[in-house]
Symmetry: C2
Subunit: 201 residues, 2 copies
DNA sequence: AGACTAATTAGATATAATTCTAATTAGAAA
DNA sequence: TTTCTAATTAGAATTATATCTAATTAGTCT
């Protein structure tokens, strides 16, 4: 029995996020009831109760049994305990976000600072600058070295202030410099975003 | 640590019964995020995110930490697991209904068939008739016997058709008859409502 | 068959929730 | 100080939800 997906769970919360429906669940957990009876207990009209019971039934939270004209409803405890079982484990919640791209914000930053592959301006905020620098450092090959002149030449294709950008590469640990020779660093050596954010803007 | 009450739980469902808020919980369970970042990921404006985060914060579902201008939010896992722990036990749910009177429907029936202590009409439906008869049988003392004539006299105070009512007392097992002598039966000997409903109207 | 009962469906209205824009606040940088 | 940035608050507009009355359906009783 696998755990419920995002939509099922959302639906579950929506159905239970109503005072009278939650009370219905409470009542039906104790006893089997007719629509008329439930209407009297909650001081609502029968159509309203029917409407709520429909929503509960769609989720299999209640079961119905007919006896003549009367429809008796009761709780389906199995469904409840199934839904209730470890809904909020980390893995479970990670699943909900699987269709939400993590890089949405970075893409937005790139779109707003880069026009037809050219850097319009160097962002003032440290966080946004990192996004731009990560994009720029991709223009350099991994595993080969560059002289300062070479680095400047490549950077100038994107922005005139190559000196600042070159210095920032070092500051953000996207590149290392040894005796005037530059080399791109692997992603796992970069300063974590978390570390960067601990500093001031 | 006692379990949450009805209102807390209802609030919990209301807060989680929203697609974007549930997604926020999902994202924040994986990583700490700024408002700006969350807005980009969910394609919503910052004020909207702020608004949702407020609701989550009121329930202690998220925590906030400031760093300069930026507010970083993350999930408060403790609250989640507290709320998630055995919400739907029978005892728990029984608690929700403690302020809902069980007899609401019976009272409604009484109100509609009895006017200033007089029975307007004998209900056609078996279920409602039982309610009326239970009310009527209270007019007789427990532990003493009545002749048929005495029973009729008392019943006539409430409704002219005493014969029918008297016969129904026997049918519903609210009274017993032995050689023309009637006696009221204790409640625990009555036919259960469940039994009565198994019969047709 | 016709009358009655309980439940449901349809449609209208009232209430609540979501989301936006614009204005405001608080902190950081120039 | 002034400017900029990120977050929040206020207020309006859209959208969704809950509830009711009236009409319909299905089952019973006479």
């Amino acid at each position: 029995m696998n755990s419920p997906d995002f939509d099922t769970l959302l639906n579950f919360f929506k159905v239970l996020a109503n005072e009278n429906r939650l009370k219905l669940v409470g009542i039906l957990s104790q006893t089997e009831c007719s629509v008329e009876d439930l209407a009297a207990r909650l001081h609502l009209k029968e159509p309203t109760i029917s409407h709520h019971l429909m929503k509960l039934k769609e989720l299999n939270l209640v079961e119905m049994r007919s006896q003549g004209n009367t429809h008796f409803y009761k709780l389906n405890g199995d469904t409840l305990s199934y839904l209730n079982k470890s809904l909020f484990t980390s893995e479970q919640m990670a699943n909900w976000t699987k269709d939400i791209p993590t890089e949405a914000w970075e893409e937005k930053v790139l779109r707003s600072y880069i026009n037809s592959d050219c850097l319009i301006e160097i962002p003032a905020s440290r966080k946004k600058r990192l996004v731009i620098l990560k994009w720029l450092v991709n223009k350099f090959d991994l595993g080969r070295t560059y002289t300062e002149k070479e680095v400047n030449e490549i950077l100038k294709r994107y922005h005139p202030d190559s000196a600042t950008l070159r210095r920032e590469f070092i500051g953000y640990k996207l590149m290392k410099r040894d005796k005037g020779i530059y080399e791109r660093l692997a992603e796992n050596l970069w300063q974590s975003e978390r570390e960067i954010m601990k500093q001031k803007n």
